[in-house]
Symmetry: C2
Subunit: 264 residues, 2 copies
Amino acid sequence: MEEIFVVKIGGKVIDDEAARNSFLGRLSKINKNIILVHGGGKVANQVLTSMGITPVMVNGRRITDAETLKVVTMVYAGLINKTITAKLNSLGKKSAGVSGVDGVMLDAVKRPVKDIDYGFAGDITAEGVNTDFLLTLLKGGFMPVVATIAADKNAQLLNINADTVASTIASGLASKGVKTNLFFCFEKKGVLMDAEDDNSVIKELNSQNYPELSAKGIFSEGMIPKLENAFKTINQGVEKVIIGNSLDIEQFFEENHAGTMIKK
Amino acid sequence: MEEIFVVKIGGKVIDDEAARNSFLGRLSKINKNIILVHGGGKVANQVLTSMGITPVMVNGRRITDAETLKVVTMVYAGLINKTITAKLNSLGKKSAGVSGVDGVMLDAVKRPVKDIDYGFAGDITAEGVNTDFLLTLLKGGFMPVVATIAADKNAQLLNINADTVASTIASGLASKGVKTNLFFCFEKKGVLMDAEDDNSVIKELNSQNYPELSAKGIFSEGMIPKLENAFKTINQGVEKVIIGNSLDIEQFFEENHAGTMIKK
């Protein structure tokens, strides 16, 4: 497989039907080997609440007890995954909705309890990505649409952070010698030099300018782990990472790319 | 692909963890090209009830309104599908949990309203089975585990009866010249000559003895549509249909088969 693009979506693109359909319409016209990884948006919390379960988040991460695990499996791997996949198929982009469980795609382990017990949350590594299944789908002409549920060796289902799934799949493919790119879609146009100015997108971050800019304190608390993760992925062999707005997705693929590109 | 076996499970095998694991343990040891189609069991009704929605069934078929559709998509394509697939993978049988949506496997249409409005229930035909996706998975070494949700051309998700999905997939494969067999697993040992005697299994039904036995009124009201459907499938080119107990699954594959075999 000559080159693969792992695209992660979340937030508004999941929750808002118009935004989702606009994004999927754009994506469906891009003739590249794409693996789409989706988060869960707010739907899981709505379903939990309707079932009388209070969602619990710590440091932006979900605490997944047994009942919550059932709900996120239903919402992510069921409702959201099939809604997105059906839409892509109706747009002529042949897609297959799967999860980390399927084809043993992701070997997960339950996160060890340290300060916080995250419950049925999973950890994964690049070595634990079984790329055969993803490559079988892509070679067959089917775009994998990946929900972020996986299982451990004993069939225990586990909930995994969507950013982690996307970057780990990208690293896993790169480690097998496949030229792989990783695109994170979010609501801003890219990583901003000035949080108040939406047009202050930093075009490129690399090991030269990142430490300098970081020292100036321009990156928000939420952005720092994303950037650290992007550099980790690059160091694991991924070609480039782009962080930008989902509605600019076509331009992620262009030479003069939209968003912020992270390179070595 | 030399020969395919479409296996449909439902009822207790879905609802009861011990029965499910026993069945999946047996299935995982069978080295054949299998497509597993699963029903929804009682879980969907439990989830509906927990969300304050009253399940509605007419003539044994679900009335699928918009909220019910979301729940069955979550339960069938999410929770049940991933639970089964994770178990099979943990047993060493590489499996991929999918639905009729994925790879455009099933072209469905919303059931026209006649006497009863079934809501978001789908109808499918053998011609509307896109076998490419199933064959891609099987050739890649992955057993398809199929949840019975599909979509129409406009990405409307639809709920489809599991017996119908299994027999239509079998007919669709047969129509493409693939030697295909269809196995229905249920709680009885087969079609019984005497409903009171569990050991009165009819070994074979064919176009000779079926009309005779039918005229004697030995088939229960619930069994007649299953048998009519089995004969329809046979007439569409499926090699054989076996109806029997899920715990005898290994013996469905033997010359001296368990259960009731329906042949031409």
